[in-house]
Symmetry: none
Subunit: 213 residues, 4 copies
DNA sequence: TATGAATGAGCGTTCATTCAT
DNA sequence: TATGAATGAACGCTCATTCAT
């Protein structure tokens, strides 16, 4: 009985292991996480992990892939049936929620940065995620431009790159200094600034950017 | 009596060691850098390092403090005798240059992110640097507002936070994907967008975002 | 399925390790014994030891506890069904045998002395052993006094303390100078002297102290 | 000015170094004492120590020799112009005082035991001290026997060995458990017991051995 | 499918010792 | 006579990985 994916107590399946692993990796980094710790937290022995994964790197790669897919699905869903400018607002919200969530956060920032110059396969995976994220944003901007909603003389690639930068940088600062860094407010400020700037010449200018005086 | 800075045997003084150490730490992270590696790269034995520093953490702290001071000096110098808007452009340039330089780059991003949840003292140091950076930017924005150069209804704190985010995020993406991420262009796009948005109501709008195909 | 106690590969179970460890500790002291040496002597690698024990201190504690228990059992058994004066003779014999045995000797003296001012938990363990040993002796003396076999105006506590002193001091001298220090003869001399002195007023005095030239 | 042996602050002479060294060795043992620690406590650098002593072992040997000489002088002085039985009482007192003193204590016990099976030269030194101590005691006993003060059928060697045992064992227990082990009382009990036993046949028996009921 | 004993390489750190000054 | 930089060997410990069961 009770075979709903995660069985009780013992015997965590392949899937459960990636769940637990990515949490450890996200918290303590790849090098800071021992197979032993993952095993302990999963309630299994090291051997069990090596039964499912060929190596620590393999486990990390599998876990990262899982998370990336999940994150991308979430972003795409947030944009379903939304106008381009609305999509750009929603994506920022999803990213902020992700950063604040209990279990998922930090993994992209921590493992992405840690893999620079140290772990080519994961780096490639992360690079792909970032490229797809920027392409996704760029397509939204282009769609907005095609429909006349956004200024057509803006460089959609650069806008997407700046947007991605703001998200990554805001998340990083938030993890670094959660008490003093206002994640949502920063992202809202950025997005409003950007949308304001992308408004076609004739459109009226919104008043934004002043708050908690 | 051999006083060319690095005295005796084949030595590498305290200072040289922090230089070499921070390069290693920035490249491979704190956990990914062994004392042996630093020693090898400095041409000394592990013992020599422990003669100058009490522990690996001590070495890291000394190296990080050095680098932070250097970076902050550099940013401040770039703003000497510059108008607020010009300062905001120059800071982005300095950050881009820093990210592209041979020896100094990556240290902030890598160690900042790695220290989250794992190394409280370094975290504190980095937090301090980020807070000072944001405060520095905010003061520039406020100076611009006071002089009428920038819109006075903008939230200077949020603008500074967004600016910092853009810088960190752009640097991160650049390290991750130097071939495909256009660091300078992204930062220019961001800064122009921001300055455009901060222009007082009456001022003319510049053309920005010239797409490079 | 190979269940001869020490299973698999070339192993040495937890128990064997404490046996080997205490021998090393007793010979070279705690600080003078490296984990590597224990491993080598046990025919395993360091890692195997750390699989069974959390630390060198943990291994020491386990080994010391084992030995203390063994020693106390041995002393108690020697006194089964013996009159108080006979018990006091037998305990000295057991201690002398213990000091001469191949594997067990020295551990108490070496580790007890080494732990003074340097290793609180082991000190505590040893202190406990000594207190129990003195209490055991005192109870024997009291039993002798209650039965009229020994002078009742003697201070049982002080007698027990002096007895323990003689045993420890004789053992120490024996280890220091086995060729020139006559362990059994010294202890016999002491015990006879003591029993002579504890003889009730009316009883005849034995001739003791026959000098062996 | 001020060259009274130990100069102010810096520049501890050879003699001062052995003083400081033996204190360290007595407290933390030989292996537990680093040259660095001695240097720090003496207010000099390691190099200065190596200027005076060829090695750590050499320093230990010198320090031990100093202390042994001092101790033996002290014991001999205590016996000047005293009858044999009185001498035997006084020696126990000197040993107890020595064990309680601030600076000198523990060195014999700790270093003697630690050197067993690990440090042949020091072991030899300690062996010599013990042999001389026993010989000194034996001669006192013999003198007592020759003068008719003590029973002449007692084995003077064995008596001396038992006496030495009691002293060493009492000291050890005292260091191990100063709160619960009564050093002076134990030694007094032992000596009284022994002297009582050594009294010639005709002499009256003293009442000893009952105290703090 | 999972366990647990074991390995072997490596890491941070300590320390006696050397030596140019 | 003394310093302080440096060495090199060891040590306690960790950890990814292997493998018999």
């Amino acid at each position: 009985m009770a075979t709903d994916g995660r069985t009780r107590r013992n015997g965590a399946g392949r899937r459960d292991l990636t769940e637990i692993a990515i949490n450890c990796f996200a918290r303590h980094g790849y090098q800071g996480t021992s197979i032993d710790r993952i095993a302990r937290e999963a309630g299994v022995t090291k051997g069990a992990i090596y039964h499912h994964f060929r190596s620590k790197e393999d486990l990390l790669a599998a876990a990262v892939r899982d998370r990336i897919g999940e994150f991308e699905t979430r972003v795409q869903n947030a944009c379903r049936d939304a106008a381009p400018d609305e999509s750009l607002r929603r994506i920022a919200e999803v990213c902020a929620e992700h950063a604040r969530s209990e279990d998922r956060p930090r993994f992209a920032i921590k493992l992405m940065v840690e893999s620079i110059e140290t772990n080519a396969p994961v780096l490639e995976e992360m690079r792909g995620m970032m490229r797809r994220f920027r392409a996704f944003l760029r397509n939204i901007v282009r769609a907005g431009q095609d429909s006349g909603l956004l200024r057509s003389d803006a460089d959609a690639d650069a806008v997407a790159a700046a947007y991605t930068s703001a998200v990554i940088g805001a998340e990083t600062q938030f993890y670094l200094d959660p008490k003093r860094f206002s994640l949502e407010h920063t992202l809202e400020t950025f997005v409003s600034q950007m949308l304001d700037n992308l408004r076609p010449a004739g459109a009226a200018q919104t008043l934004q950017g002043r708050s908690d005086p």
